[in-house]
């Protein structure tokens, strides 16, 4: 057995060695070198077009199969709400009740049917409410061969199942190892090169090199995710001394924006790998990292941000004012902190195409590692980035109004719904002030009119 195995082993080792070399050469030539120079062979776009054709075919087959078996394929009213909410206000309802009551003495006093208004509104919100919808991933109309987006599409034909199986093999067997390799390369290069640049004296050379290194590493990371990004209106790209604000859907937003321009990041210092990356990045160019304790101090945060902005040699700051990840169908309330500083704001709208992979990070459903795994095993991340014209706070406009104006512009460009709700509602409880407002309104109608009665 011994001598028989040995030449076989040698052959195996040789084959493995050759395939590794081939693998790495291909990687280098087709992915890493273009990333360094910022050019693209167009492989990813070709890949995207092919995928779309496959999806169309798959959906057509499913529709045909469903019709044959008489299944209900698409969920009824999947894009509309289940109920039409009454838009009458509390005042109008109560006046209506009073009008229908017989005796004039009851006018303006409490009626037991007043509770009906609150009851109905409560039940309406149980059946359908605006906020919960924002924190679940969007539903697709066609199936993209990923089980995770398979809500209502069950086994229709064996040909489709084979295709799906093939998809799994390609994604997990080929794409995932490729992407992992790229990701490790990208992050590794970032840490090592920025640490090296940190030794240089401050000056133009350092800034130039740091810019190139950052761009290169982010581009490798973009390819690690197979992200196909279309940038619009690059003439509006953020300049030094400004603040870039964008809508937030996932941690990948940072990589997407930073692969097209250099930004100063803002964030909390983490431990572990994240912390290592943060510490080495800051050696090459000034980012704004906060200790956990400093984050609560709003004045300290504002001061550091405005100091950075005043220095025109420093890069524009990248901030996500929503404060949390939203599911990319709407834009929630912007926190006004970044709008109080008084510098030029460069709004950016990011819209993901969910057909290729759901980019939204539902942090209550899965953690960061699980999320990255899902990202790296989807087909691709396709998104569009729009650079909007810069905005400045107008005379007589306070920070909140300015924030809302910027939010409206971003929502309009990205085709997202503009909501007034606070993204913090994902985790926190509703403040009691909202309930008090309802109570105030009701009591004004009730007791207010009573005072008039008692006086007359």
């Amino acid at each position: 057995m011994g001598p028989f195995m040995s030449p076989f082993n040698n052959l195996l080792c040789m084959l493995l060695g050759i395939s590794f070399t081939v693998w790495f050469t291909l990687l280098l030539v087709f992915i890493i070198v273009p990333a360094i120079f910022g050019v693209s062979f167009g492989i990813r776009r070709l890949y995207m077009k092919t995928l779309l054709k496959v999806f169309e075919w798959a959906t057509m087959r499913m529709e045909r199969g469903a019709k044959e078996k008489n299944h209900l394929l698409y969920k009824p009213c999947s894009l509309n709400s289940i109920i039409a909410k009454e838009s009458t206000s509390l005042e109008e309802e109560l006046k209506d009740i009073r009008r229908n009551c017989s005796s004039p003495e009851l006018d303006g006093s409490f009626d037991m049917s007043d509770a009906f208004y609150f009851c109905r509104r409560g039940i309406e919100s149980i059946v359908d409410d605006e906020v919960t919808k924002c924190f679940t991933a969007e539903e697709l109309e066609s199936w993209n061969l990923l089980t995770r987006s398979n809500y209502n599409f069950n086994h229709i034909s064996s040909r489709l199942t084979v295709l799906w199986g093939l998809g799994v093999v390609i994604r997990y067997g080929f794409l995932l190892p490729l992407r992992l390799t790229l990701a490790i390369t990208g992050v590794g290069l970032l840490v090592v090169l920025t640490a090296m640049i940190g030794f240089l004296p401050n000056g133009r050379m350092k800034n130039f090199l740091s810019e190139k290194v950052h761009l290169m590493c982010y581009r490798i990371c973009v390819r690690a995710l197979t992200a196909i990004i279309t940038y619009h209106h690059s003439e509006n790209k953020p300049k030094n001394g400004g603040i870039c604000v964008a809508n937030h859907t996932s941690p990948i937003d940072v990589i997407i924006l930073a692969s097209d321009g250099c930004y100063a990041m803002v964030g909390q210092i983490h431990g572990g790998l994240m912390g290592l990356i943060q510490r080495s990045m800051v050696k090459a160019c000034p980012h704004i990292w906060f200790e956990r304790s400093e984050v609560k101090d709003r004045h300290l945060v504002a001061k550091r941000l405005s100091d950075h902005v005043k220095d025109k040699s420093k890069l524009p700051i990248l901030i996500f004012p929503e404060g949390t990840c939203i599911n990319n169908t709407s834009v929630m309330m912007f926190k006004k902190g970044s709008f109080e500083i008084g510098s030029t704001v460069y709004p950016v709208a990011i819209k993901y195409d969910p057909r290729f992979g759901e980019a939204f990070w539902n942090s209550s459903q899965f953690g960061m590692m699980n999320y990255l795994l899902r990202m790296m095993s989807s087909w691709a991340i396709v998104c569009s980035v729009w650079y909007l014209p810069p905005m400045i706070r107008q005379e007589g406009e306070d920070a909140m109004q300015f924030a809302n104006r910027v939010k409206a512009a971003i929502a309009r460009q990205g085709g997202l719904v503009d909501l007034l709700w606070d993204g913090g509602l994902k985790r926190g409880k509703v403040k009691d002030t909202f309930k008090e407002e309802q109570q105030k309104l009701y009591s004004k109608i009730l007791v207010g009119t009573q005072e008039v009665r008692s006086r007359s």
Binding site: N70, S113, R121, I123, T132
Partner: protein, 194 residues
């Protein structure tokens, strides 16, 4: 009908549910989705915290009472059937249903809607709304915006006008009588889209 969906088949006793509540298959599917969205941990039933997580409900002055209406006394969970049956109260009244003498009253009849509203007031379920219970509801709806005296005078006047048998409490019949002129169908119905 011919077309059934596989989702519908996953729900147990769905035919009985549709018959009892009068919801169409499309509505049941949508309500099932909503149930699953609220049931964040995928346990198959809802608890009071799941309802409490709905922000618009938390803002509602009588939100807690509405949540309480879903849970029968002693039970701490709501399954899908109970969920749908309670929501069925708010279907608009079927005006053109033939009156069959032996069939049970539909869940969304005027009388049942009134009973649902009555239990929002009558928390101890003794069949009467006492002065205390009325005060509690008024306090929820008005908050800290009125004084105790104003609250009591409102409660006293309401009981005086509705209480016909002079027992200092409002029974269900007295409740129903005082709301004779109110268009219950309009006030206690939600417009379900097709």
């Amino acid at each position: 009908m011919g077309s059934t969906s596989s989702t519908l088949l996953k729900i147990p006793n769905v035919e009985v549910l549709m018959q009892e509540t009068g919801f169409s298959p499309a509505h049941i599917i949508r309500l099932h989705d909503r149930f699953k969205a609220l049931d964040k941990e995928g346990r198959g039933h809802l608890c009071p915290q799941d309802f409490g997580a709905i922000k618009e409900l938390a803002m509602n002055p009588i939100g807690d009472r509405i949540i309480g209406a879903f849970f029968s006394p002693g039970k701490e969970t709501v399954d899908f059937h109970t969920f749908v049956k309670i929501l069925a109260h708010f279907r608009p009244v079927d005006k053109d249903r033939p009156k069959e003498p032996n069939s049970p009253e539909p869940i969304n009849s005027r009388s049942n809607k009134l009973k649902f509203a009555f239990q929002l007031y009558d928390q101890d379920k003794d069949g009467k709304i006492s002065r205390d219970e009325l005060l509690k509801v008024l306090r929820s709806m008005l908050g800290m915006q009125v004084t105790e005296e104003q609250l009591e005078s409102i409660a006293d006047r309401t009981i005086q006008e509705a209480d016909l048998d002079r027992d200092e409490a409002i029974s269900f019949e007295e409740f129903r009588k005082s709301l004779e002129k109110v268009n219950i169908d309009h006030k206690m119905s939600i417009r379900f889209l097709r």
